[in-house]
């Protein structure tokens, strides 16, 4: 088990280097001069321009810039933004907000997927099941940003049940609505996985054997049907946790949530290579760790799986 974790972490190194290099290269190749853009309409003094360029190592060739960045990263220095803030400080403020949002979304998604999937699977072909499948089809065909705008307009503005934007007030309750919307847009996959494995488990031989032992359905459904069906749903949810953290840009933009996605978006617009690459680096590391955890979780849930 330990060997497996070590091996996976070692495998993560080339992934990490490759990703940061690619991102750095792409941001570097973006058109426009970020330093010039900083001065807006004014024509800056060429000496000042040179000084600023040197400050951000922008006068050096691309590869040197990248190495410089890596060196800083390994020493814990993520550089400064154009407005003079430490990138690490900015991220320290933004990450907890995004984590909170995503955690809430994932918990809601999981509960919905398990409960609705179980009911639907147990009563396959019934009214609940059919209604659910139609609703799921609608939910999965609405693009997330449309769903977010609709929720913001109807629930936030028309009904006034939830704050329209989050802003600085990043409490659990303020972020409930965007979290719910994210959960709804991704819950369909989990629900279908749950429903499918519940249907399969019900006709499994071990369920028939459990009945033959004299167990009641009340015991068999949680212990033998739901427990076995949870495995794919849990791993799916855990995997989407990683994807969501990296994908909150739209949600945070619409609801004005000061999380990673918003910081990332603003940095891209400003052409702030250092900030963009830092965020993507952290997201990459997070994504890799979450995926290792998902694989380990699988072994915990299913005793047949052992990593060596």
């Amino acid at each position: 088990m330990l060997m497996y974790v070590v091996r996976r972490l070692l495998q993560a190194i080339p992934v990490f280097l490759g990703t940061t290099f690619l991102i750095y290269f792409m941001v570097f190749s973006m058109p426009g001069d970020p330093i010039l853009a900083l001065f807006g309409e004014k024509t800056p003094n060429p000496a000042v321009l040179e000084a600023v360029r040197a400050q951000y190592h922008l006068d050096q060739p691309f590869f040197m810039q990248y190495l410089h960045y890596l060196q800083n990263l390994l020493t814990g220095n993520m550089g400064t933004t154009f407005s003079g803030q430490e990138v690490s400080d900015v991220l320290a403020r933004a990450f907890p907000v995004t984590l909170k949002l995503v955690l809430m979304a994932v918990v809601i998604e999981f509960i919905l997927a398990v409960v609705i999937g179980l009911i639907s699977g147990l009563r396959k072909g019934g009214i609940i099941d059919n209604t659910n499948l139609v609703v799921a089809l609608v939910l999965s065909s609405v693009p997330p940003f449309v769903a977010l705008f609709l929720a913001q307009y109807f629930i936030g503005i028309k009904l006034g049940w939830a704050p329209v934007t989050v802003g600085a007030n990043t409490t659990w309750s303020a972020m409930f609505l965007p979290a719910l919307v994210i959960a709804l847009t991704i819950y369909v996959t989990g629900m279908r996985l749950m429903r499918g494995s519940v249907i399969e488990a019900q006709s499994a031989d071990y369920v028939r054997t459990a009945l033959a032992k004299g167990l009641t359905r009340r015991r068999i459904i949680p212990v033998h049907v739901a427990r076995n069906s949870l495995i794919p749903v849990i791993t799916n949810t855990a995997a989407s946790f990683g994807a969501l953290i990296a994908g909150t840009t739209v949600t945070e933009g619409i609801f004005n949530i000061p999380g990673v996605g918003k910081v990332l978006f603003d940095a891209i617009v400003r052409g702030e290579t250092v900030t963009v690459v830092s965020i993507v680096t952290i997201l990459t590391i997070l994504y890799i760790i979450v995926n290792i955890l998902v694989d380990l979780l699988y072994a915990v849930l299913d005793p047949r799986i052992r990593y060596v």
Partner: protein
Amino acid sequence: MTEENTVQTLPTGAKPADANAPLVEVKDLEVTFTTSSGDVHAVRGVSFDIHAGETVAIVGESGSGKSTTATALIKLLAGNGRISGGQILVEGKDITHYGERQMASVRGGTIGYVPQDPMSNLNPVWNIGFQVREAIRANGVASGKKDIEAKAIEVLHQAGLGDAERRLKQFPHQFSGGMRQRVLIGIGLGADPKLLIADEPTSALDVTVQKVILDHLETLTREKNTAMLFITHDLGLAAERASKVIVMSQGKIVEAGPSLELLQHPRHPYTKQLIAAAPSLASRRIHSSVGEHLVDGVKGPDLLNLAEKHDDTEAAAEAKPVVVSVKDLRKTYMIRRGSFRSDPLHAVDGVSFDIHKGTTLALVGESGSGKSTAARLVLGLEKPTEGQITVGGVEMADASGKALFDLRRRMQVVFQDPYASLDPQRSIGAIIAEPLKVHKVGDRKSRDARVHELLDQVALPSAMADRYPNELSGGQRQRVAIARALALKPDVVVLDEAVSALDVLVQAQILQLLADLQEELDLTYLFITHDLAVVRVVADVVAVMEKGKIVETGGTDEIFERPQEQYTQRLLDAIPGAGIEFGS
């Protein structure tokens, strides 16, 4: 309803002295399955009794309704099935109208159940202890954590798991098939039920394991005076283990009575057919049936009355040229044991044999003995670690590219499962013609002609060429697989458990077909099987494999009548019904 469906229920001498009323009375039971193509009446008016302490066997082919009858007794029919008529009286009470809750109290406590496949009947995510304890708790046999734990260990001990205490925390995947079946037997008998239903409890197990498990089941049920309903397709097994046998066909009981009497003096033609078709130790080598007689109008081998021309064929075989020669064959796999360590597994460990032209060599052994690996090596599907394989004078290791491709033409294979080995998307004609196409034999027209010739050889109508595998029965499919194997006029046909998945009547027909084809085309067979009774009727020479090695080789009669090795003797002893003489 004919007279045959109402069964004379009390076998003479088998009735226990203390029970006047039967434990279970099944009266005119009807079971219907609702399918998209209409209702299927799987069980049609079945009646029988089971008395306390009595062992009853239901015998029949797949689709006869025997398993459906058994599952109906505890109302565990598949979702689309229902009891559509009749009564099931358990201790005098009709359970056909019982709801879930009432059935839960009957199941486990009054009627225990041991399923067929030990691999799929334990929940993989819970440990063994958990699954035994929950059965004990549900039936109220013990209460309190400690008592339940103690009872669980006791139950597993009784089922033959000596080290139960240590293994309670282990998961099903850490148990072998035989061990799992012991756990399932432990669970089935855990609450001391009055009747135990055993639905083909050993058909997924090796023959030696099968015998141990059945012996154990018999001892346990005798000690506890548990009645047993035994579902099996194996007549020998039924005769050996049950006091009463019920023969079912197409949802009806065709004959029932005390087991020995029924098997030695069958009255119904179907029973007679079944008995005639069952290969047993008393059987003889099948020879070409051309000019031989028919059994009850059905063309099939009369295994019991075959001419004794066997002895001279053996001597004649020696004189024929060697077609396949295997010398010192080894195949070693590396099995990973950790990140850096791996242990060698000698799947085939120094095997040598020769097969003479026109004869059959049977490679016999239990699962894991290396017999199938040996077959794959001979077919050139895997490369041996060491050793030589010579087919028709060509050394396989020397052949590569074109030469190997040509060598493959001379060797063809028929696999075990006719449902998996034919592509469902292609017509029968296309399936049979495929090897011809691959090897660029003839043109379209001549290939069509060859397909029809082959269909004729395997006794299928020409019109079959345009049909698809799903329209065919298991036996017909296996005939198609044989036709495909013969398409290239091979010298050698490898039959890898080629009849193991077939019902006994169909099996007998396919074996006869193979014998006819061998004689007609002078084919050489390498017959891989775990079933010694089949070996007796097909093989000229038998090689017994154990743990990758051939432990004994000899003429079929020699091996069966005078086995030298203990392992061979054990295999022979384990064949169900070995000592029973069947009638006809």
